[in-house]
């Protein structure tokens, strides 16, 4: 363990030589970690490094196979089934545990409602909810339905829930994955406030700039092993990335290839309007990687889904290789070589209960028909090919997709989409929730696809990604395409200016 001596206080919670085995597979190897009162401790590592398993053990959701836990320096066995919450140890899941049709107050008191003579005391509960939300400086209405809240506000409700239970240690699994920058900023302000009052945080994230910004110490895991624990001030993003990957990160982004100006226009969108998106027009050339930037909720996904035919369009036209594309017919778009890769791989991208092959070939079963019936050998061949091409690493071929790491799922989703042999590929958030190493791989896949002469649209909320990959960047704001940046213009400052509404020009 890395106690740097300067801090003498007893850790609130400490893990000693924690190992965990699932069946025959060991995922954690004797990992140590200590959490001091009032610190923000970042836990980082590549996908599959064991972070999620580790925090589930630390928060009592799973028992360790060996090793022990110390609470205030005393050995403790955390009670199973999340009753560790009573000890002030609270895990906020990646996917929130909120029932959509309850109100904020009902959510806060779910499972520990205050009752008088068996009748719910709504007044007291509402007052307490308001008090906690005020502590957080949040303006959410305590009577609002969860379903009416924005993602960031739902997160705030989860935190309010944690505070109302006198949390001592709050575990957050990728809390900012679904938040915009501004929303993440608000979250971090709350974290700092609570930290000053002595609450500890353990923060799992892939966004290293955020780790640098918010955390006091960093613990790095790699392949289930403890690699290093150090004060954040002694590290920089590059150093953490290297510890995670265990090797020098060569350039994260591949070299860009700008298509010739007279290259064929493969996709042309004119005046496209949906319920939210207004009058969007742009063109995409052969071999081009076009970025779409903007804040969350600026209408990028809606525009892309309307182009692909997954959403109705009110007006406007889409031309694929010069031929008009019928509105609302995703299958037709598919057949004509336009593919859309969703950002929601778990919700709408992959069948989590099925195996890899079923998922891989689902969109392209026509290629595996012999005399009208499916040929398992042909599907197996495609699977082997996809595993090589996209470097999908799994221990067992027959694993359910839901059990694979996020990075492998993302590669499988990309492979599935590529099986349809598309010429135009719209990739929505290519690297959401995956680690640095896999990100780099996916960037190189995208560049390679463009070099093959395919045209790619990358929709991303991570500006470095858009800047690093794309030769042109379109910026959207509140349903409007407000800017189209090229060459030297492409920078975080410029994108931000358009995205925030400080500048605007006719889209080219």
């Amino acid at each position: 363990m890395a106690n740097d001596g300067a801090i003498a206080s007893v850790p609130v919670l400490a893990a000693e030589r924690i190992s965990k085995t699932f069946g025959e597979v060991q995922v954690l190897f004797s990992v140590d970690m200590d959490i001091l009162p009032g610190e923000v401790h970042a836990l980082v590592g590549e996908n599959g490094a064991g972070k999620s398993t580790f925090i589930k053990i630390l928060s009592g959701f799973q028992p360790p196979s060996s090793g022990r836990m110390l609470l205030d320096g005393e050995p403790v066995t955390l009670p199973a089934n999340s009753t560790a919450e009573a000890l002030g140890i609270i895990l906020i899941h990646q996917e929130f545990n909120l029932a959509e049709h309850l109100t904020v107050t009902e959510s806060l008191f779910l499972g520990r409602e205050i009752a008088r003579f068996g009748v719910l005391d709504r007044k007291v509960m509402r007052a307490e909810t308001r008090r906690v939300l005020d502590v957080l400086g949040s303006r959410i209405d305590e009577n609002a339905l969860i379903s009416s809240l924005a993602v960031a506000d739902k997160q705030m409700v989860e935190i309010a829930k944690a505070i109302s239970r006198d949390a001592r240690v709050i575990f957050m699994d990728e809390p900012t994955a679904v938040l915009s920058r501004e929303e993440a900023g608000v979250l971090f302000d709350q974290v700092r406030k609570l930290k000053a009052k002595g609450t500890s945080f353990v923060f799992v994230s892939h966004k290293l700039d955020e780790v640098m910004e918010i955390s006091d110490r960093v613990t790095v895991l790699r392949d289930g092993q403890w690699i290093k624990t150090a004060p954040t001030s002694m590290l920089d993003g590059e150093a953490i990335a290297q510890l995670m990957v265990g090797r020098e990160l060569s350039s994260l982004y591949p070299t860009k290839h700008e298509p010739d100006v007279d290259e064929e226009v493969v996709l042309s969108v004119r005046g496209l309007t949906t319920g939210y998106v207004q009058d969007a027009s742009f063109e995409l050339r052969k071999g081009e990687v076009l970025g779409f930037s903007g804040l969350i909720g600026s209408g990028r996904s809606e525009l892309m889904e309307a182009i692909a035919g997954l959403r109705p369009r009110l007006s406007g036209e889409v031309f694929l290789h010069g031929e008009p594309l019928v509105a609302g017919d995703f299958r037709e778009a598919n057949r004509r070589g336009l593919a859309y890769m969703t950002k929601d791989r778990k919700g709408v991208g992959l069948l989590l209960d099925e195996g890899m092959t079923t998922n891989l070939t689902l969109q392209s079963l026509g290629q595996h028909l012999t005399h009208g019936y499916l040929d398992p050998a042909s599907e197996a061949k495609a699977m082997a090919r996809a595993r090589r091409r996209f470097d999908i690493r799994v221990r067992d071929d027959r694993v359910r997709v839901g059990r694979m790491s996020g990075g492998n799922q993302q590669k499988l989703l990309l492979a599935k989409v590529m099986e349809t042999e598309p010429q135009v590929i719209i990739i929505d958030e290519p690297t959401r929730g995956i680690d640095v190493g896999t990100k780099q791989q996916i960037y190189h896949f995208i560049a390679a696809l463009a070099r093959e002469g395919r045209s790619i649209i990358v929709v991303s909320s991570e500006m470095p990604e858009v800047i690093g990959l794309c030769t042109r960047v379109a910026v959207m704001r509140e349903g409007h395409l407000v800017g189209m940046l090229e060459g030297e213009e492409i920078s975080e400052q410029m994108i931000m200016r358009y995205a925030a509404g400080l500048r605007r020009k006719a889209a080219g």
């Binding site: 995703f330 709408v348 099925e354 689902l362 079963l365 499916l374 197996a380 082997a384 595993r387």
Partner: protein
């Protein structure tokens, strides 16, 4: 495939017992257990004649349940199958009684074609109400269940509809009572229907789409699958299976009434669930379904032969089986 052996990190793994999906094996294990219990209860039970009888009697439910496997795998439910049996059978017999075609063989063939067409049409109606009408399948087929049953009662004026021509009856009888190489026809029909269904479900594009739609409609939609079409066709397949069951049912008694097929939907769903198909959609197991239908019939048979339990309790026992099957299914899911 073997060009790049470094990346192929798949060391030839031996298949261990862990790899066996317990949910797929469980119904067959239960069947064997029942056979052993039956043999202990009564030595006549294990005889070929008795078992062949049991299999023959399970034919209606088994064939209907094969159709239900498609509907349930695609994430829907069809409660109307029992009423549909009565309705299709009534129309078929009424048509044969009408004497529209003089030649008995021709008449019989026409009547059979008619039954299949009506069955398919009833299924199509269920499918369209569910998909185009965007009504929960539970409610949609609860509605058509009432409609088909009501129409049957009206057609039969509350009584029975009986096949009048004895010539037709004699001609049609072997479809249920006949043998081919010593095997009763209904058993052959079960095997044929199941083999076709298994082929469609496991080896065609449509079958894969059924599983995808049942597993997640949204994923299916984003994969370019025509979700509504897949669901509707599943209902049509259900209707066709009902029609095939009717083709076996009519020669058996030569008669049908307003009470024909009551609670068959429950038995069909039970057979599907006992067979290991998840009620929430996704994985469909056609052979498991047949096994489930056979288990239901065997339990009844054992009760008859044993004298321990009154056979009037059959309904209660079958009800218990579906609950136990769900519990077993869930506990096996947790382990895997």
């Amino acid at each position: 495939m073997s060009t790049n052996s470094e990346i192929e990190e798949r060391a030839p793994r031996r298949r261990t017992w862990r790899d066996v999906d317990l949910r797929a094996v469980a119904p067959f294990a239960a069947l064997i257990l029942l056979l052993i219990i039956g043999a202990l209860v009564n030595p006549n039970f294990i005889g070929l004649t008795n078992l062949a009888n049991v299999a023959t009697r399970s034919a209606f439910i088994a064939i209907i349940a094969v159709g239900a496997t498609f509907v349930i795998s695609s994430g829907d439910l069809d409660l109307s199958v029992g009423s549909m049996v009565a309705f299709v059978a009534s129309l078929m017999i009424l048509f044969m009684n009408s004497g529209a075609i003089a030649d008995p063989s021709l008449m019989l063939v026409a009547a059979m074609v008619l039954a299949v067409v009506i069955g398919g049409a009833c299924g199509l109606l269920n499918g369209l109400i569910t998909t185009l009408g965007r009504i929960e399948p539970f409610i949609a087929t609860l509605g058509t269940m009432g409609i088909y049953r009501g129409l049957t009662t009206w057609l039969s004026q509350g009584g029975a509809i009986t096949l009048q021509s004895s010539e037709l009856q004699a001609l049609y009888r072997p479809a249920y009572f006949g043998n081919v190489l010593g095997v009763p026809v209904p058993i052959l029909i079960i095997l044929l229907v199941t083999a076709i269904a298994a082929f469609v479900l496991y080896r065609t594009r449509y079958g894969r789409h059924v599983v995808a739609v049942g597993s997640s409609r949204e994923v299916a939609r984003y994969s370019g699958i025509a979700v509504d079409r897949v669901r509707t066709i599943a209902f049509v397949i259900q209707g066709l299976c009902v029609a095939v069951a009717v083709l076996l049912y009519v020669p058996r008694l030569g008669s049908t009434s307003a009470t024909t097929g009551i609670l068959w939907e429950l038995q069909a769903i039970t057979a599907v669930v006992v067979g290991g198909t998840a009620l929430k959609g996704g994985a469909g197991r056609v052979w498991g379904t047949i096994c489930g239908a056979f288990i239901l019939e065997l339990v009844g048979n054992i009760m008859l032969l044993s004298n321990f339990i009154s056979e009037y309790l059959i309904g209660a026992i079958q009800g218990s089986i579906i609950i136990i099957a769900m519990l077993v299914q869930r506990s096996l899911t947790r382990k895997s």
